[in-house]
Symmetry: C2
Subunit: 498 residues, 2 copies
């Protein structure tokens, strides 16, 4: 029997360095690998999303639209894929529908092929407009189920959401496991349910992180259950809070009734390229190797490091355990939203506030909006007492309809504001950049002409550090007293780095 | 339906630090974790073997028998497990039968419960005596199949070997995948075949390394096929060239018909303990994260680093690729032995010699012995031309019977030699230590009284290095010129570490 071909989405250019290197990788460090990635036989190449867009203009002085066009040029044979946060697009608020349309249209025009559209709350009303916009461009609209574990999340619930996405015209369904908590059995159950209910032809893509050390088995189980495409990252950009390795997936399937049609010689070159690049960004590396405690704490890796840095800034690093215990409570009060951008930040910050100031004594504006419905509808019920506190503290009323329906048209205003900025080039792309991240974009436009900044270390620095590591020498951070001979005299001289 | 309980063997105390930290971990750094390991619910605790024994006396000035007795005392509820190289015991040659008996007897007496007995060639004649000796002590005799991939290795061949092990009275069968090349499908096929042929009650243990990134799925598939016990390492001592994480295995099984009865609170403490300890041995860490190229090269991680160091010593580090290409040829000529101690070293060294001096121009004594049958019978046929060269170069004749049958009784001679050594304490244990590693033991006996040496860094050193890493400062290895102000004058002073 001919094996079923399993498609693979390569994550090296987006989620891998987002998860492993704080999204800092410069386009310059990716270009060399593009030809091999383009010709290796991937189903798609993920290369764009909210964090990469943000990091481009915040840290790298790099125009994210140029990055996209460069990928388009360097990978003419590939489906380029992006992650789109539904009505939030790449930003942290809802946008009025026309902005959604414009963003999708311009992304498609600049080269995007596959739009993975998700909403942190799994609220279909937050996905509809973006899905419609993608379909209108003729590109691939992938509707997403954000996976979480809670008392209110069931296989039936996910199945129902899949149905809504199919009704919207989704060309495929993604199961997104950002916290690496999708176990083999539920993966199997959800995928079987979708295929049985909506037909074998429904394409299912599975995106798992590797943080818990479980999900290589999840991919295996998902494929056996009928998953069509899985997401992996080239081995030298894999594991830890990232993803399972592409080459390992290929080998895992050998001898089974499944096969990933990848060119392993090209994959070897891609691996070698990033093995050379990754050490340049060592300072941004997460120390996480594997963390199965996430099953209990429900806290994805990125969220944890955010909370830790908030606590440190408040001089309350010792409250880590309390905050970790508070998260599940806050999550439950908010109606059990999956923890993914932006809910992970919103729930995490509120947990920090609860520990520092007393439970709900001080609500963040975002958390109040969440429990009042301004982000959409959570799958579980919001704790009514907490919603009441939010009303009292903010003076806002809860809403129950589609949040974006409360927005006034804003495109013309955004155009006016963007065009007034120093360094703005007058394109719709620049208006969209401004719309996504107004403050950061304002600074970026001013400095853009200076060209990209590579925040990685140079090859020479990496080599020197590696040598220092091998010789076991450590850095003198404190003053050092040297005996210095000058003109026959020996002096004890205390020196310190200026 | 009640889930099937899956037993777990914890590898942290033996194979994990052998694979990750060059076997350097001191007993001192393990004792604190023992109570939690003992009470966590493991099927067994692997804690002793050839490399740990060797490292104890070679690097740590630690008596391996004292280590074993300490484990026995600290873990009264656990099955202690060791890895025994059949007729080789823990050494690199065959021992006469009485030495085998003595070694097993003394190991059992000092506290060992489970003996995983293997032979690098899978030659049952090299396993028989050790298995018999274990059974005589009333302890658990685990017969081992070393897994490899070759044109002559088939499910039927492994099944036949399992039958031989069962005939020897094996209490369980281990499938040992030292190179992390056991894929889910063959794992499934071999286990199903054994269970179908010899009965559901045959206990099967599965030992996989994680080097290729594939084997978490292999464990999943193995369990579904009927495996009863699997080997894992606590998460903070897992992955890379090591093993899959214990906590991840636990979570992976949730919702399936299988369950690992482990106390996750105790596991959390064991994890935290080794997370604290591991950085002390950073200089011994392997840089390997994941390496699926092993499927092509057939070279396990440890073997690769050995070959690289041999090449460096010969000033031929640039020949790495040629040697990697030579290994499969040498392996085939030797009759496709699985690559595991000692065959991995023997095949690896010969590949290096072939590249440096011309193919088989210069044969190592060990490789000549291998192709002439002195290590036992390989599963595939030895290349007769290569065997002929070995005969010519060494003047030795090939043998076809059990290698140990060519040995004279040697116990009394070993006793005499050992007792004559400075610092020998007159026990049979010391005779065995000498028998295993004569040269190293001779030195060790002299220095033993000084007590163990911990080769890990101190907690303070680890902290200083971590801080240096976080501040991104690098070590000045070259001279640095400082501007130094002394008494109002500024001098340019060039300083250099003395």
């Amino acid at each position: 029997m001919k094996p079923k071909i399993i498609g693979v989405t390569e994550l090296a250019l987006r989620d891998a360095h987002q998860s492993l290197l704080a999204t800092r990788m410069a386009l310059e460090d990716m270009v060399e690998a593009c030809e091999d990635i383009d010709k290796a036989g991937y189903w798609s190449v993920e290369c764009w999303g909210g964090a990469t867009f943000d990091a481009c203009i915040r840290f790298l002085n790099e125009d994210p639209w140029v990055r996209l066009r460069t990928f388009r040029e360097l990978m003419p044979n590939s489906r380029l894929q992006m992650l789109l946060r539904g009505q939030n697009l790449l930003g942290y608020r809802h946008y009025e529908d026309m902005v959604v349309d414009k963003f999708v249209e311009k992304s498609a025009e600049n080269g995007m092929d596959v739009f993975r559209v998700f909403d942190a709350l799994n609220d279909p009303r937050n996905l509809e407009r973006a899905m419609k916009a993608v379909i209108k461009t003729g590109k691939h609209a992938q509707g997403t189920i954000c996976y979480t574990i809670s008392p209110v999340h069931t296989v039936e619930g996910y199945l129902k959401l899949a149905g809504r996405l199919i009704d919207m015209g989704a060309h495929s369904i993604a199961i997104k496991d950002m916290a690496a908590i999708l176990r083999p059995q539920p993966a199997h159950d959800i995928i079987c349910a979708i295929k049985e209910t909506y037909g074998e032809d429904i394409q299912i893509n599975v995106h798992c992180h590797s943080t818990t050390g479980v999900t290589m088995a999840t991919l295996f189980s998902a494929i056996q259950a009928g998953a069509d495409v899985v997401d992996t990252a080239i081995s030298s950009m894999s594991l830890g809070p990232g993803h399972n390795p592409t080459g390992s997936l290929f080998h895992m399937l050998e001898g089974t009734g499944y096969h990933a049609e990848l060119d392993m010689v090209r994959l070897g070159r891609v691996r070698d390229h990033f093995a050379k690049i990754r050490p340049r960004y060592a300072e941004f590396e997460s120390p996480t190797l594997v963390e199965s405690g996430i099953f209990r704490s429900q806290i994805p890796g990125g969220m944890l490091s955010n909370m830790e840095s908030q606590l440190r800034m408040q001089g309350a690093a010792d409250k880590r355990a309390e905050v970790m215990a508070e998260v599940p409570i806050v999550k439950a009060d908010a109606g059990h939203p999956p923890l993914v951008t932006p809910t992970s930040q919103i729930v995490g910050s509120q947990a920090v506030f609860n520990v520092l100031f007393g439970r709900y004594e001080k609500m963040t504006a975002e958390f109040a909006d969440l429990v009042l419905g301004y982000y959409g509808r959570t799958h579980g019920e919001v704790n009514p007492e907490v919603a009441k506190i939010a009303e009292e503290q903010t003076g806002k009323k809860p809403i129950h309809d589609r949040p974006a329906d409360h927005l006034e048209p804003e495109w013309d205003q955004l155009v006016t504001e963007a065009h007034a900025l120093e360094g703005n080039d007058g394109t719709d792309e620049d208006v969209l950049t401004y719309a996504m991240f107004p403050a950061v974009a304002t600074e970026f436009f001013k400095t853009r002409a200076k060209g990209p900044i590579n925040v990685g270390k140079s090859a020479a620095q990496v080599k020197a550090e590696e040598e220092a590591r091998l010789t076991g020498e450590t850095t003198p951070t404190a003053p050092i007293t040297y005996n210095v001979r000058m003109g026959g005299r020996t002096l004890a001289v205390k020196v310190e780095r200026a």
